[in-house]
Symmetry: D2
Subunit: 457 residues, 4 copies
Amino acid sequence: MSSQAPPPDHPAFIRLPPWVKSKLRPFAIPIIQKVHDWVETECIPAEPVMRAQLAQDRWKTPKLMHELRKKAKSLGLFNLFLPNHFKESPGLTNLEYACCAEIMGRCYWAAQTMNCHAPETGNIELLAKYCTPEQKEKWLKPLMEGTMCSAYSMTEPDRASSDATNIGCSLRIEGDECIINGRKLYGNAQWNPELGFYILMACSDPENPNPWNRHTTVIVPARTKGLTMTRNLTIMGYDHAPEGHGEYVYENVRVPTANIILGPGRAFEIAQGRLGPGRIHHCMRLIGQCERAYELALIHAIDPAKKPRGKLIGAFDSNIERIADMRMGIDAMRLVVLNAADTMDIHGNKAGKYAIAQSKILVPIQAAKIIDECMQMFGGQGLTQHTPLPEMWTYARFVRVADGPDAAHRHQVGRDALKAAEGFRERHKTYNERHKEICRAWGVDPGLGGRAVEDLL
Amino acid sequence: MSSQAPPPDHPAFIRLPPWVKSKLRPFAIPIIQKVHDWVETECIPAEPVMRAQLAQDRWKTPKLMHELRKKAKSLGLFNLFLPNHFKESPGLTNLEYACCAEIMGRCYWAAQTMNCHAPETGNIELLAKYCTPEQKEKWLKPLMEGTMCSAYSMTEPDRASSDATNIGCSLRIEGDECIINGRKLYGNAQWNPELGFYILMACSDPENPNPWNRHTTVIVPARTKGLTMTRNLTIMGYDHAPEGHGEYVYENVRVPTANIILGPGRAFEIAQGRLGPGRIHHCMRLIGQCERAYELALIHAIDPAKKPRGKLIGAFDSNIERIADMRMGIDAMRLVVLNAADTMDIHGNKAGKYAIAQSKILVPIQAAKIIDECMQMFGGQGLTQHTPLPEMWTYARFVRVADGPDAAHRHQVGRDALKAAEGFRERHKTYNERHKEICRAWGVDPGLGGRAVEDLL
Amino acid sequence: MSSQAPPPDHPAFIRLPPWVKSKLRPFAIPIIQKVHDWVETECIPAEPVMRAQLAQDRWKTPKLMHELRKKAKSLGLFNLFLPNHFKESPGLTNLEYACCAEIMGRCYWAAQTMNCHAPETGNIELLAKYCTPEQKEKWLKPLMEGTMCSAYSMTEPDRASSDATNIGCSLRIEGDECIINGRKLYGNAQWNPELGFYILMACSDPENPNPWNRHTTVIVPARTKGLTMTRNLTIMGYDHAPEGHGEYVYENVRVPTANIILGPGRAFEIAQGRLGPGRIHHCMRLIGQCERAYELALIHAIDPAKKPRGKLIGAFDSNIERIADMRMGIDAMRLVVLNAADTMDIHGNKAGKYAIAQSKILVPIQAAKIIDECMQMFGGQGLTQHTPLPEMWTYARFVRVADGPDAAHRHQVGRDALKAAEGFRERHKTYNERHKEICRAWGVDPGLGGRAVEDLL
Amino acid sequence: MSSQAPPPDHPAFIRLPPWVKSKLRPFAIPIIQKVHDWVETECIPAEPVMRAQLAQDRWKTPKLMHELRKKAKSLGLFNLFLPNHFKESPGLTNLEYACCAEIMGRCYWAAQTMNCHAPETGNIELLAKYCTPEQKEKWLKPLMEGTMCSAYSMTEPDRASSDATNIGCSLRIEGDECIINGRKLYGNAQWNPELGFYILMACSDPENPNPWNRHTTVIVPARTKGLTMTRNLTIMGYDHAPEGHGEYVYENVRVPTANIILGPGRAFEIAQGRLGPGRIHHCMRLIGQCERAYELALIHAIDPAKKPRGKLIGAFDSNIERIADMRMGIDAMRLVVLNAADTMDIHGNKAGKYAIAQSKILVPIQAAKIIDECMQMFGGQGLTQHTPLPEMWTYARFVRVADGPDAAHRHQVGRDALKAAEGFRERHKTYNERHKEICRAWGVDPGLGGRAVEDLL
């Protein structure tokens, strides 16, 4: 039996696997509890108020959000995502933060109250990792203090930008200025007055023989001349205001070369370091969403007012099976993502690449499926605003294309996996040699009755 | 080889199975072609204009829709859905109309331009079937002429109304008036000024020992005092304005008993006759949607601007397999639904019940899956308003709960299917008896090596 | 309502869709009934006897089979599969025979009693189509009379022979003899003394610049010198004796050039004509199997001895849903295959290619799934010889790789489907032009709010 | 970063998640390595010899097996499965043994060489847990020493014995003898001369009002008079000789009451303690099987002799996606099972019940799917004895019904999960109360725009 004291019997820890509980440090346990209490008391019950405020003034951050962010910051709940190997970090490991992220996921916008939302998290990590002290002071500090927000701009409408070497938005350096021309999709909405800047990936050296050295990452202040957001991009019909997703035109946009991160031509170096942890956060938040969807489905299952053919919905054994499948599916996803977070903690982001991709591919599909099942258990009501399920489903669906569609990740995993094939072939050759020895020892003809697939090699 | 001339090589007929082509009468062929040309020329290219007009005045039928309806009516494209056994019918069979419905499905609102949209179709059929001549004059005529629109109101927020015997909205008869109290969900939006009336199912005789005789169907004019729409119901975030879906309170709503259809207590008689063909229309429209989604995916697959890792999207053999699966999936669905339509034509709606349920269960799931796959092939863009795919997916998803969730239909099919079990048992007993004879003839011990499952009966 | 009289209410016709019933000619109806009665009375009840006889002498056709074949022949039930456009045909259309094939599928070996089993059917059709009168007399006649049986030999162990241009078994012509060297997989077992000959596909002209002209089809008598069957190939552990599947070595095997079919280098011409109808037969037999598996599951569902937690298995609503899914799945498959058969009848095998591939891809997967579900409903017993389900599942699984694995067919369908993409692009260009006209007419800016995916082309 | 030294870079540890590696004690690491080397060197290469020996004398343990068992025992590789809380245990935790079990799974019969095969493992654990010292001396000792083998007999042909309260085989006590009558299915084959005894579950007190006290577990020596094995049960056609699965008749079988375990009426107490760890072993072995199947598929993917359409099988991106899905699927299963093993170690078998059920339900389905995919990648060859894949698939399929079919376990999980529903309702009531406070604070009407699903409670 484990020597380490497990965390107290607080609902924040109930579904964590034992190996995770035993890894949570005494430092982390009260933080996770605080996150839990914050979401339960200040976020979920405030959802209708947030909706009401947003309905009034769609493209402005609601007052409630401002107030909650101020309060969360004062409670020390800000920027928890930044892993403890950064000096700016509040001190959690990826694993510990993953436990927080699941809880945050229960309310669509809870992460934002704690400055732990995408794309802020990825941007903050990027700036913390690659910026000069001057750049940090100017761009990182306000982000971490929550006085500014930022966007990441990579996807393009005219290219298959899931393969980022295709990115074509042009950046030309003239003296101490970059001149940018092109079109972009996604990236938080310029219409939101709080948006401070875009972190833009552009093509600065299209003729460079090495396609990985052609691109540059640069900071573009949100209200720079020549940068226009032509419209908001909806996701399955949702505008996701006020952050939203934009469609942009860059027309001779000029920014100082001082805004270049790490140096010209080094965009891929940056991009590779950026996305790992953010994918884990998305996945854990999706798991938290699923837990909430699952709770709603179970409440519906015992609702005495809803009795088709005279039985509670939860009394139908088909629904009992569905509930079991959901329960097991959510718990299996959690094991995958927490293992990825733990792998990053132990071996670093790069070694964790496979486990991160595994999470990114498996979780959104499974989450969308589970939430869809919950909607279906609610009948017609499940698709309406009576439940938060449609928004949840949309978020899960969105993550299947965010940071590149499933297939791109799956190809990467498959190509890496195939590298082991040669080793397997060697292994089976060894089997065959040993097989012949054993056949000899037992007087069996290795070529006939004894023939196995290995012979066919 | 078929003696009957197949329809000309017009795109409207290209994917119809040969047996369907050979059943289309010379009368029907030009109508189907006209529907095709109408949708291609007047509807699909006008989608952005419809969207723009709707954006300006959300809860009013756009002018474009009015104009298109007038024009379609003048072209004889109105009310095509009403099967040829009604005297009001323009003369198509269910099978022939199914071919039209698929084409209409290519544009979300095309059916409405031809007065062939839900819930109008079901309501018109209901009124044509069960109303007195006086009622027809007052309610059916304006619907068929397209000067009024209507709603069907059955679902309730407080009950498991997928089992309609649970419906609780109360209707009390006092003299020549009905007094109605209760809450309803769905039913087209009262906010739309064109809405003429609700066809309401309410409970008039809750103590009747026969639960199938407790309910009454009555026409409630849309602007009757006491009837309030408290809000619009969104479907996966879409408001579907101006028709929409409402949430209603009935507070001492009074309507004349002359508005009762067929008589008090006869709601189930009506309900059973109502939904069959409408389900087929939904399914065929979903197939038309899928064809359009599939076309968009294929166009994307050969888009020279989109080349991840240097290859056209359609050059990846994984996508080639996906395209094959979509192609075959759509064609298989069509066979199911056309068979249901044909079964109704030959044996009537009641005998077609199973085939209708089969369509209703299989098609929306498959359609949502195919459209989802198309969205995924588009990457991030697929979820945005750059394509009509998100709206298409939402419609397919909606049909999974419309007219009762899948599971309710599946239970019905399964319970009916189980009725055959006794017959199967008899059949296997016959096998066993014959089996013993054969064993005797061949000198085989029937009890040992020869034992089969049938022995275990 | 259909004018044509539907077939009588005989169980052989019960699940046929109305459009099929109305196409069955008075000539065909009694034949289908006879097939039904034959399978019900002489085949299914004799299964344990067949098993017992096979257990005694594994590599010899059981006496029971001989007797049944004699009797079936005398009843005119022989060779029904050969379509009515052949002069040797008993006169059924593909559609009519498909109805027979489903019935035959209810018993694993029933088709063999009627000389309608693979590979005999494909071989007979091939010989009837491509042989000279002399060849027909020698090889086709005994097959059709049932006095000899044959094999088809194409697959090779050392090549990816699903792409038949890879076939490497060498055939060299010397004077009036062919000399054959190579290895083959599959093809009925030489160990069976009744086997008369192999129809072999071999490479006769490896340097021919046209890869479709390199191969030759030749008849190899089963007991030719130099041809050895090194072992029987099991399929999922089943030896499928006495027909079986072999593994062969050809070592300087000599056959007269008179045995070449159609001429040297024409193997692909032959191969393309061979497989269509056979695939439809497999698929219909699988559907017949599924019906039988389904019946066993339903009998189990009402077995009063089997009551987990006090309820009949069929009283669990999860099983009711499963039964509904099986019922609908089987019926949907049937529509797909019957449409393929009908398409061949109306437009010929070549035009039916897509519908045949659709059947070949969709049906075995679905059939295996349904039979698997039936096994699972039986619990532990379902996997044992207490039921015929394991053999049924294995047959369905086998058809997924027979005549090339799913993926090969799916690729072919997908590649053909992609040919339509250019046409779709044109169609959407037309939409865009019309769209601009409509925008102008309504004063909507076509470039902004009105922008659609078509603009992106 | 973890302080504990990870195990060396030996292939036995390569795919273990970091958290597992860090939990393996220095004591366990060399044992796991020895198991790995044993399976690689002595088992896998000997498979064809084992097959050849079995083919010669089907119902006798092959000499090779005897020799391997002797050798494995001398190497200290015997009985590793027995967890370290038993005094008879060699000292591994469940987690550490799980790592061994995966390796054993790579060869179908490797576990048997180490006396770690079902049903021995469950039986040994049962006897170690519940027997008196005298019983242990007589029955447990020879099992652990590997000089005898045993069977577990519970399932019945005439009952739904997945619900074990239905078990009807009668046990009557007369003096110091039990008299047993009934029929049983499964349980290792009496035909195997090495079989020592059956652990039988029978109904001794059918009238007991408490259905959980009606049954008794008793040891029945294999060759007791009156006990007959009427035939071997095949599993998907495999006889699994010489252990096999039997069909038994008990006719007045008499055994001493001293053979009763724990006492009359206590069978359920025993049954509940028995199956947990065994399920984990099955699941880990299936994972080992999947790894081997996956290796074979990858070797095939780079086989230069197999190039359909000129490309390596592994060069098709559809196969690359399939390989990725297999890789991720196997790794996700491993996380689930290892977590279950760890949970048993930390909290005991009872607390691990859910995690065990989760493994038992999810793993066999997923394993069968992955192995099926590997077979398909091999084309026709994949279903034959050229690969071990068909046997692997059959084992995975078998585990879906072993110890009760999926649905029984799923129902149990679902019913347990539903117990949380009341708590969720309370939680949402709390949300609602807090929601009203927040609404008041912000001046939002809680009844209208702000209404959420919680309101509907």
